[in-house]
């Protein structure tokens, strides 16, 4: 129990699911910043991508050391996915490095779920009294930010690859042909709408649920010795299962990013 005073389970969970929200302009509303999500994600981005950059800077084309071999493994993993899906040009120009960024960043942000919330809270309580959530991908703002960025890039690539006219034509005439243009438009609108929603909400839902289940286990742990015992066992099991979810969700997010970019380049 982090705050030092007695909390009932609802209050406990509510407390841990409260963002460190600071008004950015005026009295908040839309102009509110989740300082926790932003700070943790920036920190993780610097750690993850900075680490890769630091190793890559000294990369040799000769025999790689272990550090470099690890990064090369990661690199070829992402590159192979990009190579397998994106066949419409030079993937090294943008798609593959963007996929690497997405994978590394999302993976690290997801991995924050492994940290025990109450122990982290001992430190973060000095930063913020009303809560500090350390899993940026369990914040719908983060996942929407990523998914919408991908979405806008997808639109950009669509127009770039087919021209504005070509894209419009596709919007009205595919997949059922020109005569059914209202249906096509509806169809494409739903598709365009569902892409960022499913892209972001899948990640958000998984991470949020994972966080929530940990919190529920810790409220159980607060009930006594038996609770501690079972919560520890289930917590371990959930954490191990969560390793899969964390990596899998990062992988899915990266793959969808590549797929959407690839689809944008396809002519129908």
């Amino acid at each position: 129990m982090a705050a030092g005073k007695e909390l009932n389970p609802t209050e406990y969970i509510g407390h841990h699911l409260t963002h460190d929200a600071q008004p950015f302009l005026g009295d908040g509303g839309f102009w509110t910043l989740h300082v926790d999500s932003l700070a943790v994600s920036i920190l993780l981005g610097f750690v993850g991508i900075g680490l890769i950059w630091w190793i890559v800077r000294g990369a040799t084309s000769g025999v790689p050391n272990r550090r470099q071999a690890f990064i090369e493994l990661l690199f070829s993993f992402v590159d192979n996915q990009a190579k397998g899906i994106f066949k419409h040009g030079d993937r090294n120009a943008f798609i593959a490095p963007a996929a690497l960024t997405v994978f590394v960043w999302v993976l690290l942000m997801n991995a924050m779920d492994f940290l025990p919330v109450d122990i982290v809270a001992l430190g973060t309580h000095h930063l913020s009294e009303h809560g500090f959530r350390i899993v940026p991908t369990a914040d719908v703002n983060t996942t929407f930010a990523l998914a919408l960025s991908v979405w806008f890039l997808m639109l950009f690539f669509s127009v770039q690859a087919k021209g504005f006219g070509g894209w419009m034509h596709e919007l009205f005439c595919s997949p059922f042909g020109g005569k059914l243009f209202p249906l096509n438009l509806l169809f494409n609108a739903i598709e365009y709408l569902s892409k960022p929603l499913s892209h972001s909400l899948r990640l958000y839902g998984n991470m949020y649920a994972g966080e929530l289940i940990f919190l529920l286990l810790w409220t159980w742990a607060a009930t006594g010795v038996v609770g501690i015992l079972f919560a520890s066992i289930f917590g371990l099991a959930w954490a191990i299962f969560h390793i899969l979810i964390v990596v899998l969700q990062a992988y899915i997010f990266m793959m969808l990013t590549i797929v959407y970019f690839s689809m944008a380049h396809e002519h129908h």
């Binding site: 910043l33 932003l38 990369a59 790689p64 690199f75 960024t101």
Partner: protein
């Protein structure tokens, strides 16, 4: 679920990280890996080349050995032939020499016999003349009958 300015901020952060990766992280890694791939490919090609040239030079060596062997055999055969020729020639020469020597010896013997016969005849003539002289000492004037005596000497 409350959407707020965090979304925009995160999108900006995301864009910055993508830009950084595209600009600074991906290219050097790609370069290193591609250079290594090329080096490996080159190395494999060189190895293949080496293997091929080894094979070729092995064949060449084999051929050279074969040639040398053949030449050696030829030389030996020639030498044997010459040996036989020389022996034959020596034989012939020896035979000819022997014939010549034999002929020379025969000639010598004949000459010797001739000479002995000549001498014998002269001695017989001298003996006959001496005997005739003794018989005819008184009546025969050596000077007057010199022609006659010479005639006898020649007949003998």
């Amino acid at each position: 679920m409350n959407i707020n300015f965090t979304l925009v901020a995160q999108a900006i952060v995301f864009a910055a990280f993508i830009w950084f990766t595209v600009r600074f992280v991906w290219p050097p890694m790609l370069r290193a890996i591609e250079t290594r791939q090329k080096q490996i490919a080159d190395g494999l090609a060189a190895a293949e080349q080496g293997k091929k040239s080894l094979e070729v030079s092995g064949k060449q060596a084999e051929q050279a050995i074969q040639e040398a062997r053949m030449r050696a055999a030829e030389i030996i055969a020639q030498a044997e032939k010459r040996d036989a020729q020389m022996v034959e020639a020596a034989k012939l020469a020896a035979k000819a020499e022997g014939e010549r020597e034999k002929a020379a010896a025969k000639a010598d013997i004949q000459q010797e016999a001739q000479r002995a016969r000549e001498q014998l005849r002269e001695q017989v003539a001298a003996l006959a003349i001496a005997g005739a002289e003794k018989i005819l000492r008184r009546e025969v004037d050596a000077k007057a009958h010199a022609d006659l005596l010479d005639g006898i000497k020649k007949q003998l």
